[in-house]
Amino acid sequence: MEDKLLELEHVSKTFSGGKGKTVEAVKDVSFTVYKNESLGIVGESGCGKSTIARMITGLTAVSSGKILLEGNVISGLNRREQREVYRNIQMVFQDPYSAISPRMPVGTFLGEGLVHFGIMNRKEAEAEAGRLLEMVDLEPQLADRLPHQLSGGQLQRVVIARAISIHPRLVILDEATSALDVSVQKQILELLVRLQKEFHLTYLFIGHDLAVVRSITKQICVMKDGRIIEKVASASLLEKAGENYTKQLLSSVFSVRE
């Protein structure tokens, strides 16, 4: 059974910054994400990974090509149509500080999605905030803090908790665990695996740590210079990697093992 959740068909993105600054950030990218089968994207810094994520979530318009969610085209929707769709797609960014307004207590931020989509009223959402914090191993008392009063890693856990709070179908994680220490990262990865089973979530997991991306995905797309140059089954990444660039990525990993 092949249940398609997300499809990209020949998607490209060109940024035109004027003065000959045109950048082809994403070039003719196609891939399919199946339900409950998380997909990883790895590749060079600047190769277009975040741009793909932003196009899927409608933050950046596609220049050409189509994006489909469960068979329905979601690229090029108007704002009202977007709202329903994007309840099903949540995104966790690279920099947690950019996700929260600096003056908003994290408790309010956590309940925002629940209130926005009419799942809970403000009071219920406030109570839920404490539970969400505990879900990602933070003290419920942190709800009163402002973003800059949390460490980068703590704040990223808050952002992940909020994304998952409204039980979306697809969660895009863009370098979401890069700011976490290895033990918290491992906890978050295990948490993501648990939540995936519990809520039938599917992840699009973007990262530069190949070992981490491999650990929780079924397939990995390797990108270079705006294109997908290789798709490999995560389980056999080491044995099956064919492209030179992929091999170079694998051999550049710093290991603690001698």
Binding site: S45, A179, V193, H208, A211
Partner: protein, 263 residues
């Protein structure tokens, strides 16, 4: 080896709460690469900001920070600013937050250099290009003409690294300098940092979550937990033969390529 930095019972607390850097003492020699690993929220960034004197006004410190024997906690704001340009440079964990969002990279870079060196503009520009190439931002003209939001996360981080390296600091404090970089670029940046130490005799204190990087480039490794420096020693002592249970648990949490998948 000549001592460059010494912390004596250094503590930092915010808003009168419990210390988040708690009684840290350590000694670092010139030319050493020191990495600090540990729990998120354990006080690593606060420690670096404290050494630099860049803490917010809600923070209070105790103890001493001695750079070449001079206690930095005793300096006034002007003396600190001067020292930051000439002796200490910092690479921030989230470079983007410290950039002006509505000013082009080139303008910010030149402005930054002008604060610290008096050289003609074309020399500054040549230096900018040279440093950007060193962190593998080869399309230097485009990068310089971009606004911060027009760069990817890893590109912004590398601009921050290039800026900090341009001043050839005696002491470089680097907070997660490679956390947003893919592994090939990470390897290159790590090589550049090591070269700075070798060629210029600089000392680096680097916070990282990447235990692999720590294991491969450090002379010394510090492990922070809950504000305290729970373990401190050479790579062999801390990473190969750790004594503390927390260090052991960190090491066992590392996800390696050859591990079984979690799903």
């Amino acid at each position: 080896m000549e001592e460059i930095l010494r912390l004596e019972h250094f503590s930092v607390s915010y808003d009168g709460r419990r210390a988040v850097v708690d009684d840290v003492s350590l000694q670092i020699g010139q030319g050493e690469i020191v990495t600090i690993v540990g729990e998120s929220g354990s006080g690593k960034s606060t420690l670096l900001h404290g050494i630099q004197g860049l803490l917010p006004s809600s923070a209070a410190t105790k103890g001493k920070v001695l750079l070449f024997g001079q206690d930095l906690t005793k300096l006034d704001a002007a003396a600190r600013r001067k020292m930051r340009g000439e002796q200490i440079s910092m690479i921030f964990q989230d470079t983007g937050r410290y950039m002006n969002p509505i000013s082009r990279i080139g303008k910010q870079y030149t402005g930054f250099l002008k604060q610290h060196m008096h050289r003609p503009e074309d020399e500054l520009l040549a230096l900018e290009r040279e440093m950007l190439r060193k962190v593998n931002l080869t399309d230097t003209e485009r990068v310089l003409s971009c606004y911060p939001f027009e760069l990817s996360g890893g590109m912004r981080q590398r601009v921050g690294i290039a800026m900090a390296l341009s001043l050839k600091p005696k002491l470089l404090l680097a907070d997660e300098p490679t956390s947003a970089l893919d592994v090939t670029v990470q390897a290159q940046v790590v090589k550049e940092l090591a070269a700075l130490c070798k060629k210029e005799g600089a000392t680096i204190i680097m916070v990282t979550h990447n235990m692999g990087v720590a294991a491969n480039i450090s002379d010394r490794v510090g492990v922070m937990q809950n504000g305290r420096l729970s373990e401190w020693g050479t790579v062999t002592e801390v990473i190969r033969e750790p004594k503390e249970s927390y260090t052991k648990s960190l090491l066992s949490s590392i996800v390696e390529l050859s591990d079984p998948q979690l799903i």
